[in-house]
């Protein structure tokens, strides 16, 4: 009997503690900056074009082959009277969010810091009715960065924090 009374006491002591739950769809938990949802392409605001040059590094490194990358000659390159230093630029880019396993390898292999993991709630709440809608194209991938809605975190690989 004493054991059961002790159990009841434990439950009672929890009952008077403040709750730890949130009303989720209405109240969102603040996410840490390192949070990884799905990969996004970043937008170079100075030149007004994506950072991505379509070099296929991420596509090759992806363990689940969820990316498709096509590059083209940059119409805005300096040699043709434009402002950009990028000779090649991304033409078409698809990421299948249904296949992506969010391992962060595409971010690590990118030589231009052009891809980052979405660390906002928009990246987590991606439910759709049709699986095909989870294949994101270039426009969908760059929108968040274009609008300035994301403050991306690009990891400093293998380096210790500065003391």
């Amino acid at each position: 009997m004493r054991g059961i009374a002790k159990s009841m006491l434990t439950t009672l002591s929890v009952f008077i503690r403040p709750p730890v739950t949130r009303f989720y769809p209405d109240v969102h938990r603040p996410l840490p900056e390192r949070d990884r949802a799905f990969p996004l392409l970043l937008w170079d605001k100075e030149i007004d074009e994506p950072f991505c040059t379509g070099c296929h590094a991420c596509e090759r490194a992806c363990p689940v082959e969820c990316m498709t990358v096509l590059m083209k000659d940059n119409p805005n390159h300096k040699s043709v009277g434009g402002t950009s230093g990028r000779r090649k630029i991304i033409d078409k880019f698809w990421i299948d969010y249904a296949r992506c396993m969010r391992c962060n390898i595409c971010v690590e292999v990118c030589n231009f810091d052009a891809i980052a993991m979405n660390n906002t709630w928009a990246g987590h709440e991606t439910s759709v009715h049709d699986r095909k809608d989870l294949v994101m194209d270039l426009q969908q991938l760059t929108t968040l960065s274009h609008n300035g809605a994301i403050k991306e975190w690009v990891p400093v690989l293998g380096k210790a924090n500065e003391a």
Partner: protein
């Protein structure tokens, strides 16, 4: 089988199918029990519903890409699974892991053990029939631990944070105070469980003397982890074959002698206290420094050879057998799953017990089906 009895009716054993088998539910286990009234006469387990061919997949990709699949091999203690894998690669490639990375790794695997054991407490409570209360209590503290993992690695379950050689990136600057905060929460959670279940007469009546396995039988079945330590065998890879820094700190191997379900529960509860102690000592020893070796090749290649590395995961010995023929990917990768070995003893422990007890025994060996099926 017809027996000579006073009754003129023939009795026949009933085949009882236990377990869901919808392929989209994760971690499903099916067993067919042959029951005589309420007594189990035979148990036939069916595994393989979650088979993904993770070992074979790892052979088609380089060492870094394989880490993500190791996470999914044991999703409740992904850090432990990653550790075995990266340690195998490191041993083969002869990489020296810096001091700081080793301490951080140790903190993370012990925190992961806490999260995993908390998950056990909750799920086991549900199995026993205390629906709701322990489950919610366990998830409250587990949430604190995985929130911390999210701040460090970015993901809540599939961390992909360890790398051959060290860590992918450094921990946040507020790491130490945050871990201490989490430890305070977990200590509270352990106290809650102690109060809720340990002395509870109903819980004891339900679990004591159920699913007993002797030390000799447990060894024969190749059990490991808390399931074998509850039978009185002090088998702990952290003690037998120390890796990381387990030799440098004070901690005890928890054993019980009863070998029943209640002993397995107590063993895990005490192990959580040990883990808290280990993490506290690690935090004191943590120094600033490098987290990766000085010279890391851009693409990691290993010389030809083979290696078997084992670590103590929350469910037992998690081993990785890696064969390399040179190059940047494993030639063969074999995962030694503790859950699969522990599951072998299920039949031995359940035959002759009641149907309701069989489910408690299954809960008490704390299987993760993704690790069993791989």
């Amino acid at each position: 089988m017809v027996t000579e009895s006073a009754s003129e009716f023939e009795t026949q054993d009933l085949l009882l199918n236990v377990g869901p088998q919808h392929p989209s539910t994760h971690g499903v286990f099916r067993m067919v029990m042959q029951v005589d009234g309420e007594v189990v006469r035979e148990v036939i387990p069916y595994i393989g519903y979650l088979h993904r061919g993770a070992e074979k997949l790892c052979e088609t990709m380089d060492y870094r890409q394989g880490i993500g699949f190791m996470d999914r091999t044991e999703y409740l203690a992904a850090m432990n699974a990653e550790l075995s894998y990266v340690m195998a690669v490191e041993t083969l490639a002869e990489l020296e892991v810096p001091e700081r990375a080793q301490w951080i790794r140790m903190i993370l695997v012990e925190l992961n053990r806490l999260a995993s054991h908390l998950m056990f407490m909750g799920a086991f409570g549900v199995d026993v029939g205390v629906f709701g209360t322990p489950f919610i209590y366990a998830w409250r503290e587990r949430e604190a631990v995985i929130d911390l993992f999210e701040e460090i690695s970015g993901d809540r379950m599939m961390y992909a944070y360890l790398r051959p050689g060290g860590l992918a990136w450094d921990v946040p600057t507020n790491f130490v105070p945050r871990v201490r905060e989490v430890l305070t929460a977990v200590r509270q959670g352990i106290a809650d469980f102690d109060g809720l279940l340990t002395k509870n007469e109903i819980f004891i009546a339900r679990t004591k003397g159920v699913g007993v396995i002797s030390a000799a039988d447990a060894i024969d079945f190749g059990m490991s982890g808390p399931s074998i330590r509850a039978s009185g065998v002090p088998l702990d890879v952290r003690r037998e074959e120390p890796y990381l820094k387990y030799n440098d700190i004070n901690w005890n191997v928890i054993t019980r002698t009863e070998g029943d379900v209640y002993a397995r529960y107590l063993c895990r509860l005490d192990e959580m206290r040990e883990s808290v102690k280990i993490v506290e000592q690690c935090l004191e020893r943590l120094q600033p420094g490098a987290i990766m070796p000085e010279k890391m090749p851009r693409m990691l290649r290993t010389p030809p050879g083979e290696i078997y590395v084992r670590t103590e995961a929350p469910r037992g010995e998690f081993g990785v057998y890696l064969v390399s023929k040179g190059g940047n990917r494993p030639h063969r990768l074999k995962v030694r799953s503790a859950c699969l070995s522990n599951l072998q003893a299920l039949r031995h422990m359940t035959i002759g017990s009641y149907v309701a007890d069989a489910l408690i025994v299954l809960g008490s060996i704390d299987i993760v089906l993704s690790e069993v099926d791989r």
